[in-house]
Amino acid sequence: MGWTGKILRIDLTNGTVNTEALNMEWADKYLGQRGLASKYLVEEVDPKADPLGPENKLIMATGPLTGTCASTGGRYSVITKGPLTGAIACSNSGGYFGAELKFAGWDMVIFEGQSPKPVYVTIFDDDVQIRDAGGLWGKSVWEADKKIKSDHQDQMIHVAAIGVAGENEVLYSCIVNDLHRAAGRSGVGAVMGNKNLKAVAVRGTGGVKVKDFKTFMDATNAGKKVLKDNAVTGQGLPAFGTQVLMNVINEAGAMPTRNGKDVQFESANDISAEAMAEPRRSDGKPNLLTNQACFGCTIACGRISKIDETHYTVQNKPEYWHASGGLEYEAAWALGSATGIKDLEGLTYVNFICNEQGLDPITFGATVGAAMELYETGVIDDKITGGIELKFGSSEALVKCVELTGKAEGFGKELGLGSKRLTEKYGKPELSMTVKGQEFPAYDPRGIQGMGLTYATSNRGACHLRGYTVASEILGIPEKTDPLETDGKPGLVKAFQDATAAVDSSGLCVFTTFAWTLEDIAPQVDAAVEGNWTVDKMLEVGERIWNMERIFNNKAGFTAADDNLPERLLKDAAKTGPAKGLVAGLDKMLPEYYDLRGWTQEGVPTNETLERLAV
């Protein structure tokens, strides 16, 4: 119950489709989605495998609450070995695709091998077919979505697809479902492209059964009331979305700006939630049209925007005059603050292109920021950029970059490598704002110390969604801690990491945790599936998942030396704001973190830890 009990195994090399029973013993130890699919991956993929080779696998996995009426119960994750990092990758997405996969009768789909030609897969309940994608290859995510629905005469199909970026194996290409929801980070789209898999189209007509219907309804209704009554999830997020953070983080002096040279962006308010809601001078209409919810969500934080038709980016492109997703905070930061660009309409256009072509806007924007620093310091010039005047603050340069990167044309081909490889190529690796090869997002660790430890120890490379201590350090959720202080942060980071791993394995959205604790979540899981799911068990499962991911990475070749931060954050003090004079105090936190994890000071889980967690 909660589970369909079935998984699909699709061998793209041989063009075969097989079904098998879900491993319920593993489900009891790793729950679902991130945890359970990672268990399958670590059992089946050599940690040293080439991420962009047929030996890597790509798993699309739901959680036990995906497709149920639990609020936000529509999540699915893509698990693979990530090509941007070489580490285990798990990218989580909302929309409707995950729930539809469950309705079709499948908990998980494992893609193996590499198709000899472009294909897409249709999953229409029990009818699963590998189809020729000759007519889809080269098309954008949006075009592919439209064509698949048209070809199969069914507008209820939900599509997860790669754009041209994934086809070209851009190292931070993503998988986009429902037009603008994405499994965004670590380059999962490149793995899909490498497998010659253009899209997965799902239509399900079944439902999801739960273990104890009445208890489940009581638990989910209680959870919804908590979300509704909470000022953040009931009012703040639906009204202002994640973008409300733009001014918050800037005011706190933790806004990575111009490739991390500064910690405050003087034009943050021009690209904020408040700016999106303000009538434009040009047409009197706001950029923001409305909010939007993913499947089953009672928060509805998503932003739906429309670009000013007279803006230079689209004035001759009516195909971009429609409403679409964005801007969300991380994208607005990466495309705006990281590059010093204050053109809200331009950023919205670039975000549209990221969705259309399947690019992670965080890594794309941060990479452009690094390239701008290379350009402004004379390391690269117009000859290398192909004539793009790559100066901080130039909306025109950013637009040219995005139009080239997905297509892997001109300088876009180099931008598609990500900032680590790009800056290494030009002898300036210190200008890459990455951990384990992945760009850190919209929180500067000099101003939010816990995030430095979060980034350094994240199993998928720098990421905010592996342990969002911003909630405590800045927003006061569940309780306020001092963002400039390192004391106590190792425990805080570990607690957030373990709890998040459990939530990421449930089918729920981590945004619920602005209001819910595991006290709210465990009863919903327990009513849906067998296993006596208590808070303690959820935490233990979260910790087990974290250690499992770590072991995979260690076997892949990562060591404690990779639990690090860009030199700039460790040596160059913040110039302004509350953190003025501070660097990231990683050295003050990492040893204690290892101790709390039950790891050696070399970052290796001890035998005692492994036995305790039965990893």
Partner: protein
């Protein structure tokens, strides 16, 4: 003395006339505290969740005793989040 008052999200309507987007330059008397300043603009106390003076958070119990100084920036949000 002059202080910059910044009110964001649903608190923006409490800014005085002449404010630009989310900020207003205001004249305050010596001895004005965070709390008395916000009260003088009728900003509901229960909605003042994130209160930052020059970027530094001040808890509700401290707001009545922390004075503002010339050139300070006081920024306030209702309960918000993102990520």
């Amino acid at each position: 003395m002059q202080v910059t008052l910044k009110l964001f999200a649903s608190l923006t309507p409490f800014l005085p006339a002449g404010a630009e987007r989310n900020a207003a330059q205001i004249e305050v008397a010596d001895g004005t505290t965070i709390l008395s300043l916000l009260d003088s603009y009728n900003v509901p106390r229960e909605h003042c969740h994130l209160v930052m003076l020059n970027g530094v958070y001040h808890a509700p119990e401290a707001r009545g005793s922390v004075p503002v100084s010339d050139g300070d920036h006081l920024a306030v949000w209702p309960p918000v989040a993102g990520g």
